[in-house]
């Protein structure tokens, strides 16, 4: 256990900064500055993954952090953390990830959001939005980033994640996501395009968030509490479903067919059957129709 409230760790060539949970934010900022000062430019040029635990950060906090990193020639790369229920929306993350722009042009929320779109459209940012809530009085903008439909045809980047996502943890990425590990109940993975889970999917997976109707979700063991592809949603009829591993479980893939999410064996055989769940979808008529046998 180190006494510093900020831990520095190398992660795949990037720099992970873990913030102590208990330390007041103002002190953390001071510590960070002091530590970077004493590091004598050692971290210059590094991409920073900020690990904030259950801490609640405001946009102003995020800005302050970004300013300091920028001052020492470092850039934000990703944010990880967790909190009770809401997510820091990609919009607020993008303000972190975006290059600095003059203050006058970013005093309104909408500016920040349009700025965010640019960042995510480029699919350059590897974003791990954190589930968290702004402090009272300083709520984070709730608008989610819309990824342009045109993106569906652009070559998508892929984010490889090697860990199990536990309840309350969220990963969000504009390209494809490959996750080696499980997605536990209460955890969520959101990708602009395809999702491949080398493990059990028991939480929520949203593929094709960029409006890609051809997106699929692959899992070695498919037992989700909710699946979303594009604007189609299926959910299991019971809340809080915890599905355990069937040792006979076979890999499966979920995709849209005839306006319905279907799940079939993977690698694909001829047979494709509709998911036996309550189907609810934004195009409700489509979902109610039986899919092809």
């Amino acid at each position: 256990m180190s006494d510093s409230p900020i831990q520095f760790k190398g992660v795949n060539g990037d720099l992970m900064l873990s913030l102590d949970w208990g330390e007041p934010f103002e002190q953390l900022i001071d510590h960070l500055e002091a530590q970077l000062k004493s590091s004598d430019g050692f971290f210059r040029g590094s991409k920073v993954i900020l690990e904030i635990g259950p801490r609640l950060l405001t946009l102003a906090d995020l800005d302050a952090l970004r300013d300091i990193l920028a001052r020492f020639g470092m850039t934000f790369h990703a944010l990880c953390g967790m909190g009770p229920d809401e997510k820091i929306k990609p919009a607020s993350l993008a303000t972190l990830l975006a290059p600095r722009i003059p203050d006058s042009s970013r005093d309104s929320e909408s500016d920040q959001i349009s700025h965010a779109e640019k960042v995510l459209d480029a699919t350059t940012a590897e974003v791990f939005p954190t589930a968290s809530r702004g402090r009272a009085g300083a709520r984070l903008p709730r608008t989610s980033v819309k990824i342009q439909p045109g993106d569906a045809h652009a070559p998508a980047k892929t984010l490889l994640v090697k860990r199990t996502l536990r309840s309350g943890q969220v990963i969000n990425y504009a390209g494809n996501i490959i996750l080696i590990g499980d997605i536990n109940p209460g955890a969520e993975v959101v990708a602009g395009h395809d999702i491949l889970i080398w493990g059990s999917l028991r939480g929520t997976a949203s593929a094709g968030a960029a409006g890609d109707p051809l997106a699929s979700i692959f899992a070695l063991h498919m037992a989700p509490s909710q699946l979303r592809i594009g604007d189609h949603i299926t959910r299991s009829p019971r809340e809080n479903l915890l599905a355990a591993e069937g040792h006979d479980a076979l890999p499966e893939v979920a995709k849209i067919e005839n306006g319905t999410i279907v799940v079939e064996a993977w690698p694909t055989n001829k047979k494709s059957i509709p998911l036996k769940m309550n189907l609810r979808s934004s195009s409700a008529e489509a979902a109610d129709k039986p899919s092809r046998e």
């Binding site: 635990g53 967790m82 309840s167 209460g186 809080n240 479903l241 069937g246 799940v263």
Partner: protein, 274 residues
Amino acid sequence: MGRIITITSGKGGVGKTTTSANLSASLALAGKRTIAVDTDIGLRNLDVVMGLENRVVYDIVNVAEGAVSLEQAWIKHKRVQGLYMLPASQSRNKNAVSVNDMKRIGQELKQKFDYVIIDCPAGIEQGFQNAIAAADEIIVVTTPEVSAVRDADRVIGLLENASKEKLQLIINRLKPAMVKRGEMMSTGDVTEILAISLLGVVPDDEKIIVSTNCGELAIFNPASVAGKAFKTIARRLLGEEVVAPRPVEASVNGAGVMNKLKHFFFGANDTHPA
């Protein structure tokens, strides 16, 4: 130097205090100088479970404030040689003890005891952070219920993020008959999701309630199956390889209730044509 072990859970009422009390006493009986520390400020009850309620004079807040020494505040158990208890405060505000206070108290206790067992409050607020601040090892307690497992999972995620690496699991209040009927998650169902090493399984046992009511620990009741399980767990903590007859490993056909539910939702016959 002793070991600091924090007992935590996420969800409330799953048996942290029961576990803390019984493990502490078992370790002391095994000849290890042990102190049980109650960090549930405002809801102190470890003293009650250990039958020491009427001897509380000072508490952990007094120690944190520097008003009294640890030696003045801790209570020596009369019946169990080498067993001590540091009570929580009943009435003070929850933030009266800081993470740094806990680290300091933990360090000091580690010099004086072989085992420091910290009973954590429910939730993931200040009290939780205090309780884990000084921990060398953590035991996560859950019951085999969906909501308890979900909260345990969340807490394990937080602990992993806080670089707490030595995490072990106790499943409490398992009802073998229910597991057999496929009405309760089995040990396998729970460990499948939580994926940390299993320290032990404690069956549901009515005698625990009798014990709690008279401040008599379950481990002293030879008829208590839960008491037996706690003794076994203590031996595992001491490094013994104990293969206890675990209540129920998996239900019939190796598939627990959750798997059955899943089959119901997904139509297993259809999705698994093979």
